[in-house]
Symmetry: C2
């Protein structure tokens, strides 16, 4: 667009300048940003981040300046170009998987190539035989074929057993016929399928000699390797625009009796004998949890960082933005920083505390998972059976070892809770930015929209809570029958039983540990309450779903509070005493704010008295005051580069208004046309200064 006239170029924001305000904020806190950052991420990861940013930000294809303006088609093509370049860079710099994923995180968008790496290749790797690895995986690694993972169908989401696509064994020519018997059988939501993939790992109901044997994975070519047009009797397309995630080509896929050879059924575990047509089942269903537990654990780990991005933007902007004068301030002039208002603090600072709480919890979760993997590697069977994607029914018998079941339940409860907190917290951050939060330049809106599927995928956040309840009920039964395995869950359930006739007397305000105990008490109370309804009153499973949701949330909150306390108890190596003190205030703030929000469960379970709740409420207000001066430095500790945040409001240097104005007046392509707005004119444009389409 035409550049700004000279008189506009000379304008500055009214004083005080954002830069000065943020500098003052940083000056008045003694939180040690670098120590905290290293405690959160390790020095190595921070250096990796700097290095990646340097590489990415120096290439034109990764330039983000048109992201917010582009429509769907431009966005997805730009993203494809970036995905291709990223692949080249990965080869050039020999990036590890971790570096590659870190780069994608910094780019901040889903690549339409990503399901090739994330789902297609791992599926072959985990579920294919060595022969199949040679046939498919090696080609996939060299991008001779590009694949996706096709499970969900138009009419079938979470319930994998309901899938309609069939794979019928033909003994005469030793092939499988892949077929979509109904419209609802159409594969749907499949990432990388809509426009990019030429192969698919298709989950289909295996049928052998007329007998349905449940869903199994098949490798199916879907597009011509030369022309990239769909193969005969294969119908594919992009499913259309979504609330977010529009750089991804989620697709649909239908088959009309397409034959694939015997070798295309991934058969490391289940297989059909090509000569006898005999079907072999996987040896044990014990490890159905493995892969998904890991995926959920990473969601928990990421949730803190996801939320921290929104909290960083909102905190910085609320320190720059000024509105109204303080009513009781005598003699002070000028408007007050929005961050000084308690209503803003009350919305933002508990979320700031939650970023740390979730991060420590996620780290814990990953450690537990890795320990368990080691244990399994030393003896148990390998993770990732061909049923890895199958969700067990809510009361299905769990044949796995206790630790695995505990880990599975923990990952379900935490995934559900952490991703809900992160998603809803982002929206709170966006609104805390006032009117400008609604501008795309805030950087929160699109990020929120892109994050939202996380509350649904890898186990819907409501559905998952049934599995948590199932585990807790089972644990409670084992405690009652004296057959409990020794773990933390049975420990606090026993502790509750031991004191239920004495009552609780937790010093929730005076003791960090008893605060954790009060959270555990509430979980135990809700568990035995649900158990009574289910086992004694014989209430239906369906009638208890709301109770189960509450129970799972309570359990997750307990684990988060506990993880935060444990992280502090670890003595936070490398962090100075002043900074530890601030972290401790965040721990109290997170825990007491949660307690206050869930007050009714705390006193109906008699974990606290009503008086304690009202004192907790007071304490929360005091903690807000205590944390307030450190807010900007605390978000600085997350070390988000401006390039990653891509936000006018969240700029490290506080040049909020300059950046808003720059993006509106100099980058906005809509300002390259002149409208014809007269209702009686048949034209819409008077003038069009746009360069022709870039693609």
């Amino acid at each position: 667009m035409p550049s700004n006239p000279d008189w506009v170029k000379k304008l500055k924001p009214a004083s005080p300048q954002g830069t000065d305000l943020l500098a003052e904020e940083r000056a008045k806190s003694n939180a040690n940003v670098d120590q905290l950052a290293e405690f959160l991420f390790t020095k190595k990861t921070l250096e990796q981040r700097d290095n990646l940013i340097k590489i990415l930000s120096s290439e034109q294809v990764f330039d983000k300046s048109q992201n917010y303006y582009q429509g769907r088609e431009d966005r997805i093509l730009t993203s494809l170009a970036r995905g291709k370049r990223l692949q080249q860079l990965t080869e050039k710099h020999r990036w590890s998987t971790q570096e590659f994923e870190h780069a994608i995180q910094l780019m901040g968008e889903a690549s339409p190539l990503s399901m090739h790496y994330k789902m297609f290749m791992p599926t072959i790797r985990e579920q294919g035989t060595p022969e199949q690895h040679k046939l498919f995986l090696e080609k996939a690694q060299k991008f001779e074929i590009i694949g996706c993972y096709a499970q969900t169908e138009l009419g079938h989401g979470s319930n994998v057993r309901g899938l309609e696509t069939t794979a019928t064994w033909n003994p005469e020519d030793k092939t499988f016929t892949i077929h979509s018997p109904a419209l609802t059988a159409s594969k749907w939501w499949i990432g990388t399928l809509g426009k990019v993939a030429n192969y698919a790992a298709v989950m289909a109901q295996l049928i052998v000699k007329g007998k349905a044997l449940g869903p199994h994975p098949f490798i199916v070519p879907i597009r011509d390797l030369k022309t990239h047009e769909p193969l005969p009797n294969v119908h594919i397309g992009d499913i259309g625009p979504k609330f977010g995630f529009n750089t991804m080509d989620n697709g649909f896929l239908l088959f009309n009796n397409v034959k694939v050879p015997h070798v295309n059924m991934l058969s490391r575990f289940s297989r059909v004998d090509p000569n006898t047509s005999a079907y072999t089942r996987p040896p044990t269903p014990a490890l159905v949890y493995g892969t998904l537990t890991y995926v959920r654990s990473t969601i928990v780990l990421e949730s803190g960082g996801v939320l921290a991005r929104g909290v960083t933007i909102a905190t910085r902007y609320c320190a720059v933005r000024r509105q109204f004068q303080d009513l009781d301030a005598q003699g002070k002039v000028g408007e007050n920083q929005v961050l000084n208002y308690t209503m803003v603090q009350y919305r933002l600072l508990p979320l700031l505390a939650a970023t740390f709480a979730l991060h420590f919890t996620g780290r814990n979760m990953i450690t537990l998972y890795e320990e368990n993997q080691k244990r399994l590697a030393a003896g148990g069977p390998a993770p990732g059976s061909n049923d890895a994607k199958r969700r067990p029914g809510p009361e299905e018998t769990d044949a796995g070892p206790d630790l695995l079941a505990d880990l599975h339940s923990t990952s379900c409860a935490l995934k559900s809770y952490a991703s809900t907190v992160a998603a809803e917290g982002l929206e709170v951050c966006r609104r805390a930015c006032g009117g400008h939060g609604y501008s795309s330049f805030s950087g929160i809106g699109s990020y929120y929209a892109d994050y939202l599927p996380t509350v649904t995928w890898e186990g819907d956040n409501y559905m998952l809570t049934q599995q948590v309840a199932r585990y807790l009920l089972k644990s409670a039964r084992s405690v009652l029958t004296g057959k409990a395995a020794p773990n933390d869950t049975t420990r606090f359930l026993k502790a509750f039983l031991a004191r239920q006739d004495v009552g609780a007397a937790f010093d929730v305000l005076g003791s960090d540990d008893e605060l954790v105990d009060a959270f555990a008490w509430r979980v135990a109370y809700l568990t035995f309450d649900a158990l009574k309804k289910r086992d004694e009153e014989k209430q239906s499973w369906n009638s208890l779903l709301v109770d189960f949701y509450r129970l799972s949330t309570a359990h997750a909150q307990y684990m988060v509070v506990k993880s935060f306390r444990d992280a502090l108890a670890s003595n936070a190596p490398g962090v100075d005493a002043e900074t530890k003190k601030i972290l401790h205030a965040l721990y109290k703030l997170f825990s007491l704010h949660t307690l206050e929000k869930e007050a009714s469960e705390f006193f109906s379970s008699a974990a606290t008295t009503i008086k304690q709740i009202s004192l907790a409420r007071k304490q929360v207000m005091k903690l807000l005051e205590e944390v307030r001066p450190h807010a900007v430095r605390l978000v600085d500790a997350w070390k988000f580069p401006d390039w990653q945040l891509d936000s006018s409001l969240g700029r490290y240097d506080g040049k909020v208004y300059e950046d808003m104005f720059y993006r509106a007046s100099e980058l906005n392509p809509l300002n390259d046309v002149v409208f014809d707005s007269n209702p009686n004119s048949p034209h819409l444009l008077k003038k069009d200064n746009r360069a022709k389409s870039k693609l």
Copy 2:
């Protein structure tokens, strides 16, 4: 895109069909849809709706089929074309303002022309002299000029007194100089400004003889009437993309010492004498509330319908969607309708109840407003002084009559609460649709995104609660000093005082009226609690903002519960007994669900016992069961035409999957290109079948 192959065209969804499922739903309920619809809207409005739909849906320009695919530029130009055509139709059919607005609601998008009607013309009408009406309003009516209302600035939102734009009186040539002294003075967020308007009503700080006299409205030409290019020393543009509302050209505007003649200051109330330079103040600040109170009342009225749109879509889809088998169901085959799960019911049905509750409340609010207007017309001064847009400070003395103050406070509390419930409820509905809720074809996502500004504009939902608290504290003081005006607020405050040493004993489960009383008791308790903190303990205003927010929410919930009860007590003329019974269940569901959610305030105020809360929780589960069979018919009563909903999931006929597939495979322009996805190929496309740009 290429049409579907024949084998695809033959596919149907797996049985049972959505159409049959919805037919069954409708058959099993005896709720009278037509009676209910007429009770909600009147027969006349329903006929108007049918008539408008017929006209709109028959014109190509209003075709919605590409809405979800278009990028920003196409969307806004399409919307401009629709706005123009709507203006022509309005003239042709001589539509009333109400019909015109109804048409816009059915179209479901903000027109870039709309601030001309909604803000520019009303500002001149209300604040201009007859001479100014002739000069500006008549031209505006004929579209010889097109205007916007420019108040908000880049650095200044709610606090109008902080506006930086100046209008300096020049006695020598009898002009005003409009000027932007800083970048933060740039007008920002102004609808219809970015691309469409050639005039602006600009709020600027009036300066006469060096003295600042506060914000006043000026009519300023901004674009050339022929070329539509900005006038000299005026800098204008569109502010860029937003989270939603992208059919609107929210703009920015800067002035470099632009002169306008004396007559361009709207001076029905305040004026500068052109000869003596003397400034005349408005006679009374009593009516500063008028216009905004009305605008807020309409937001309350619309909130029920806004939410009902999401609830309609989610309810119908949850009746069509089936997932998992009922665990306890013996012998039943097939998957269970999602609407049968209590966790889904618990999320959706209280929102269904809320749609009615908010609708009745809004209707009440409008009636009160109109009664007050009549009363004023009979004696008091006319509404809409030039300070109509100014928000009074939180503890500013209120010189208006009591009824007006009460109405003002009520509108603030309800606007804040109702728009929050509607916005958040829409997102709950979207998520209740599971994975498909994330598709644009759900119709909820974009609607939610477009609605979101409502929680911020016309008084930010947090800010407003301070005014409610101010009013309640003042009422409480008047009750304590025995000088209370007789109204409902002082009535329940007095009732609380009278019984505070006796305690409450409300039969919240057994009596509709006492349920309302319990809500009032809680408000009174919170009011006197806040009063004590403010007046006795001398706590700062800022430290009480969180209490004030809770107080305002409690007050709004009381009024909504009361309005619902009153609507039922009116005996719902024209509605049969069976249907009334269902409405009554909705009343209980809304009230008890709210009580349960806010449980801790109900027992800390001793409005209920802990036992009553746990009974209320049980009762809510029973009410869900009672309402469940009527859910589809109850949403049918809102009578949204499919054309308005524009949703695959919410179709009246239940053809959910057919419509999803149609939109993805036949309307999606992304399927007209073939990607080149090989990372080593420099090309992004292998083939492009798109028709060239339509604009």
